[in-house]
Every structure is written in structure tokens, then in C-alpha cells.
């Protein structure tokens, strides 16, 4: 067991023993290889369940708003950014929250591995390498090659807020071109882009795992579920699917923290991130805003300025 795990456990144990929090939200080992699962620790003895590694892929901030009481949350960089946005949007109270910050090396994209090995039977992660025994074949992978797409461009692997920091920090990789992935998509022709997104939307089964895994999707009634007026039937056709995703991405403008939890949650491998990243780039260019990187920076859609170029915002 590495020292990060023992430090997380010790911290959780102390917080619970001292009565500082009612629950610690972290990860425990899942039932499938290369899968961690969220867990809720309520007694000091149970703290030994907690783990930390490259399989801790969910964004635990998504549970922060649903879990009652004072809570400590094990947070990666992106989880911490989500917590910041939730506090800015008055969904969370700082006094009820204790952030156990852990710098993140990135998480594994299991789909990339399974595409080559078939269903994973066993896997060992050691020193940047993964030995995977799959139902179709066995294979070794370099962690860097099977890192989630989000983590490959992540610029905030270190938590932006934390009450305690566990382990060392991670060096932020220098990017040669920011938003290279979005630029590549922008450079495609309209019909190529249309074909790409049609292909993606065709796969969607409208399970809403993407929406429900997202810490920013906390509306008590989502527009897609709304009955009066009824926007969508909930059936799957490409137009409805695209309308759902387009609606979601617009509601996330300036709020998405690019954690990739939505894409990883999708059982159908829909490239949801391509849409979110485009909006993130637009917001960054138009409003010079990045979501959740500091408590002091006001969210893009929450500020008012008298010299706004859109005259109607200032005076009608």
C-alpha cells in the first residue's frame, strides 16, 4: 500500500473520530478489474476501505450535493474545480465541506484497453505499466497511452481548493497548442463534422448516465424530462439525441470543468467531450473565463459590466 492511500485513510479516520464530518466520500475497490467505486465512510473503522489509484474515475463532487450532513471529499484537480463551481452557485456550503486534496496522475480509459483485449479478466498496475489479461488476449500497456483523453490535456491535476493535501504535487504539462483537439474539429468541413456527430448521436441510448454523472447537472427537473411543455419524448432518434446533448452543453457553458466524468460514464462511448470542449474554448476566448479555477473569479454568466459590448445588457 502506498503512502497516499494510508494518508487518505488516516485523514478520514481522524475526521470521523473527531466528529468533524459525518461522512467521508472516497473510492473503494470495485468488483471489476480496473474499476474503483465511490464509497461513503461513516465510521473510523471503515476508513480502511478507501483506496487511491488510476482507476478512481468518477467525479465525487457529483455526490456532494446529494449527501446530507458535513462531508469530506477525496478530490482530484477536476473534482475540486467542480466543488468551487457548486459553491459559487450556492449548491454547497463551505462549512459543510472538507476537501481532502490529492494530486492526480490521470485516470485510465478502460474502453481503450477493452477495444484491444476484450473484456478484462485481471489487471495489474505497476510503475506506469498495466499488465492486462483479457478474454481475447493478454497485453501490456503504458499508462500514458491508455490515459483518459481528458487527463491528457488536463491543466489542473492539483486541487485548486483543499483543506489538506495528500501526497506530492503533479507537474502541469506544458501545452504547445491550447485546445488542439477543438481546433482540429473546427477545421473539418461542415459535412464532416455533421457526419461525425451523427455517428456519435446514433450510439446514444438516452440513459442519461452522462448527465447524472456530471456534478454540474443538479437541476431538480431537467428540460428533457419536463412534461409541460414537453420538449422531447425520451425516445432515441438522432435529432432528439442531439437536441438533448446540445441543450446540455449550452447549460454547461462556462460551468463545465472538463473532468470527463460524463464521457467515462457513457456506456455507449459517445464522444460527449467534443461538444463540451468547444464550448469551453468559446467561453475562454469570449469571456476569458475558465470554470472553477478560483473561488474569487466570478462565473462568466454571473457577471455584469457597464461596458458590455452587448448594449441590450446595459440599457434597453
Amino acid at each position: 500500500m502506498n503512502s497516499i492511500i494510508s494518508d487518505i485513510r488516516e485523514t478520514a479516520r481522524q475526521l470521523l473520530a473527531d466528529g468533524k464530518v459525518d461522512v467521508v466520500i472516497g473510492y473503494e475497490k470495485g468488483s471489476l478489474p480496473l474499476k474503483a467505486t465511490p464509497c461513503f465512510v461513516r465510521s473510523p473503522q471503515d476508513a480502511d476501505k478507501l483506496i487511491w489509484d488510476e482507476t478512481c474515475e468518477n467525479n465525487l463532487a457529483a455526490f456532494a450535493t446529494k449527501t446530507a450532513g458535513k462531508k469530506a471529499i477525496v478530490a482530484k484537480g477536476c473534482d475540486s474545480r467542480a466543488l468551487v463551481v457548486l459553491m459559487q452557485e450556492n449548491q454547497l456550503v463551505k462549512d459543510d465541506l472538507y476537501v481532502i486534496g490529492v494530486s492526480c496522475q490521470g485516470v485510465i480509459d478502460k474502453k481503450k484497453i477493452e477495444a484491444e483485449t476484450g473484456e478484462i479478466l485481471e489487471a495489474i498496475i505497476a510503475e506506469g505499466k498495466l499488465s492486462v489479461k483479457g478474454i481475447a488476449c493478454d497485453k501490456e500497456f503504458n499508462f500514458i497511452d491508455v490515459k483518459d483523453a481528458t487527463c491528457q490535456t488536463c491543466r489542473y491535476p492539483n486541487p485548486v481548493i483543499e483543506d489538506i493535501h495528500i501526497g506530492g504535487s503533479v507537474e502541469v504539462p506544458q501545452q504547445t497548442v491550447a485546445f488542439a483537439d477543438v481546433i482540429e474539429m473546427e477545421n473539418r468541413t461542415d459535412s464532416e463534422r455533421q457526419a461525425y456527430f451523427q455517428e456519435q448521436m446514433k450510439k446514444c441510448i438516452r440513459c442519461y448516465a452522462c448527465r447524472n454523472a456530471c456534478p454540474m447537472c443538479y437541476c431538480s427537473e431537467c428540460f428533457v424530462d419536463c412534461n409541460s411543455p414537453k420538449w422531447l419524448t425520451g425516445g432515441v432518434d438522432r435529432a432528439e439525441n442531439l437536441l438533448f446533448q446540445a441543450g446540455r452543453v449550452l447549460h454547461l457553458a462556462g460551468r463545465c470543468v472538463d473532468c470527463g466524468a460524463c464521457s467515462r460514464a457513457c456506456p455507449q462511448g459517445v464522444d460527449i467531450r467534443a461538444l463540451n470542449r468547444k464550448l469551453t474554448k468559446d467561453v475562454s476566448e469570449m469571456y476569458h473565463h475558465e470554470a472553477g479555477i478560483s473561488e474569487e473569479v466570478k462565473p462568466a454568466l454571473n457577471v455584469y459590466s457597464a461596458d458590455d459590448p452587448e448594449a441590450f445588457l446595459v440599457k434597453e
Binding site: G30, S31, F40, G118, E119, I135, I205, C207, G235
Partner: protein, 338 residues
């Protein structure tokens, strides 16, 4: 009796003249059932499809009828369109899943014409599993990786040929069109025996789950079980036996369609009443419903557990809420004395 894959392929291709054939193919998203025109497109070496074949009997989005107002008249049009279909390469768990769906869509008072028009026009060609995934637990559910129950014709893949068993009258009619059925060799018979004896390694104990659940309506277990669940419907939508649906209208001016779409018990809106009251307004109650429906109510109503052990919900769940662990949890839960 067996048939070479070459000969089988010829018969398969010939069937496309009269039938729409749905079979597993490798697509961008793994293996899935789709319309195929030629046996060469069929994926041979697969565990099971990513999504179950149930959508070919019970589509996720189905137009039931359309209507149009003309003056004082309302013209109603039935939208049901059904052709003869072969579902090829169906695994035993999914074939059993269809038998369970049959029970849902037919009862003493009502037979769902949309489902049964399709069902009656469908021939199921099952194929035994030569490879068993670690998430499969059909053996615990009274099915085996080689059970022919629910198939009209059942095949065992022997590499270059299939062992053929015609199970039902429907299947016999099609099997009759397969030419050059020959005897198995001794080695092939041994191969068949090995496949027939195989069981899943993953097991759950459902011996007493139905009666146990009967005592657990008010149990603290539900509070902890559901905590990490994000309430999506990835589990229901990937389940071969889940069958809840919603009906809504798409209306524009004087015209409209009535559509039926899948619904799922993990969504808070599932039981929301028009009054605003929600009898299952807590997620605890929704997970209880998932377990109760599959392992208790369905058994009471239809005599069978509504889970076939395909393991798809385990693979689809974003938070790794594993139904096998949920079942274990019920077994271990302390009895509540009321």
C-alpha cells in the same frame, strides 16, 4: 447433426429473401445486433452483444398510431409495420429474456399487439457460448451457457460447423431448409459435451431471495445499497428483461403521433404523478423497486426471476454498482422482525 458453416452460410443468405435477419456484427461500439444481408458480416467470436436484442421486439422508440383532424373527423392510422424476422446468434440468457418479456406483454386480460405481432413473426436462432465472460452468471439463474430454452433452433459452434438442434415447430420448419446435415464425429461429440457441461464461474445465490425480499420492504439495507447510484438508466436500458415504458404524444397543429418509449425505475420522474405526488420520491425506494420487481414481484406474478444473469448492467454501470453484490447484500441483510 451438424452442418458446415459454408453450407449454413448459403442457407442463411437464401433466407434473406424472405426474412429480415438480425445478427451480431462488430461495430464502432463493440458487438451489437443489426440487420445483415450476408453471413460473412456476422461476428462469430463474441461473448455477447453490448445491448440486448430486446429492442427488435420492443423498440426503444415506437410509433403506436398517428392521427389527423379533418373537419369534424379524426383519421387514425395504425403505425405497426412488421415483417418476418430471424434473430440470429442469440445467447441463451437473451433467449430466456424473451420468454420473460412474453409473460409481460400477455396476460389474462390483454395481449400487446405491437409486441406480439413482431414476436409471432420472429424466429430465434440461438448459439451456445463457447467463451464465458467473468460478469456472466446465467448458471445461477437456472439457465446455462448452452441451454436451448427460448430458441427455435439452437446451434453449437464447432469451428467449421454448427451442431444443429431444432427446438420448436417454427425452428423445425427452418431447419428443414438446411441441406446436408451430417453426423458428428467422435471428437466433435466430445467438443459438444464439453460446451454443454460448461458453467459460469461467477455465481450468486438466489435460493431464498424471493422470500427474503418479502420481509424487507422496510429495511435499512436500501439506504446503503443505493447511495452511490447516480440514478441513470444505464442498467435498465442494457437489461434484456427490463420492460417499463412511457407513452406520450407528439402533436403539431391538427396532426399527432402516439409514441411508446422505454422508461426505467431508476429515474425520479418514473413514478411522478400529475398531482406532484411521488410515491417513490427517494432513491432508496427506487433501488428497492429494482430488486423487488426482478426478484420478488415478478416471481409472484409470473413464476420466474426477472434476471437472466447476462451481466450487462454490471458492465454498463458508471459507478460499478454490481447487481451480484446487491443480491449478496440481500442474502446477508439481517431479518427485520416487524
Amino acid at each position: 447433426m451438424k452442418i458446415s458453416k459454408e453450407k449454413f452460410g448459403q442457407s442463411f443468405d437464401a433466407l434473406t429473401a424472405d426474412y429480415q435477419i438480425i445478427a451480431p456484427i462488430a461495430d464502432v461500439n463493440g458487438v451489437n445486433y443489426q440487420v445483415v444481408k450476408n453471413f460473412s458480416e456476422v461476428k462469430q467470436d463474441y461473448l455477447n452483444s453490448k445491448l440486448p436484442p430486446k429492442s427488435f421486439l420492443f423498440p426503444q422508440h415506437e410509433k403506436l398510431l398517428s392521427y389527423k383532424k379533418e373537419g369534424k373527423d379524426v383519421i387514425v392510422k395504425n403505425e405497426l409495420k412488421v415483417g418476418k424476422t430471424v434473430l440470429f446468434g442469440i445467447r441463451p440468457c437473451d433467449a430466456k429474456g424473451m420468454l420473460l418479456l412474453d409473460k409481460v406483454f400477455k396476460n389474462d386480460a390483454y395481449t400487446d399487439p405491437y409486441y406480439f405481432e413482431r414476436r409471432d413473426n420472429t424466429v430465434v436462432i440461438g448459439v451456445a457460448c463457447n467463451k464465458i465472460a467473468p460478469t456472466c452468471f446465467c448458471s445461477s439463474m437456472g439457465i446455462s451457457p448452452s441451454s436451448s430454452e427460448g430458441s427455435d433452433i439452437f446451434l453449437i459452434d464447432l469451428g467449421d460447423s454448427y451442431q444443429v438442434e431444432a427446438v420448436t415447430e417454427k425452428g423445425k420448419a427452418i431447419a428443414a431448409s438446411l441441406v446436408e446435415l451430417v453426423e458428428l464425429t467422435t471428437e466433435e461429440q466430445a467438443q459438444v459435451d464439453t460446451i454443454k457441461n460448461a458453467q459460469t464461474t461467477s455465481k450468486v445465490d438466489v435460493a431464498t431471495i424471493t422470500s427474503k425480499l418479502g420481509t424487507m420492504f422496510n429495511h435499512a439495507y436500501w439506504d446503503t445499497l443505493q447511495e452511490k447510484c447516480i440514478g441513470c438508466n444505464a442498467c435498465s436500458f442494457s437489461c434484456p428483461t427490463c420492460h417499463c415504458f412511457d407513452i406520450s404524444e407528439e402533436v403539431r397543429k391538427n396532426e399527432g403521433t402516439r409514441v411508446r418509449t422505454w422508461d426505467g425505475c431508476m429515474s425520479p420522474l418514473f413514478t411522478l404523478h400529475g398531482s406532484g405526488h411521488n410515491p417513490r420520491n427517494k432513491h432508496e425506494a427506487r433501488w428497492r423497486q429494482r430488486m423487488m420487481h426482478k426478484f420478488n414481484y415478478f416471481v409472484q406474478n409470473n413464476g420466474d426471476i426477472a434476471c437472466v444473469g447476462c451481466g450487462r448492467c454490471i458492465k454498463s454501470c458508471p459507478v460499478n454498482l454490481d447487481i451480484r453484490q446487491a443480491i449478496d447484500g440481500v442474502n446477508k441483510a439481517e431479518l427485520v422482525v416487524e
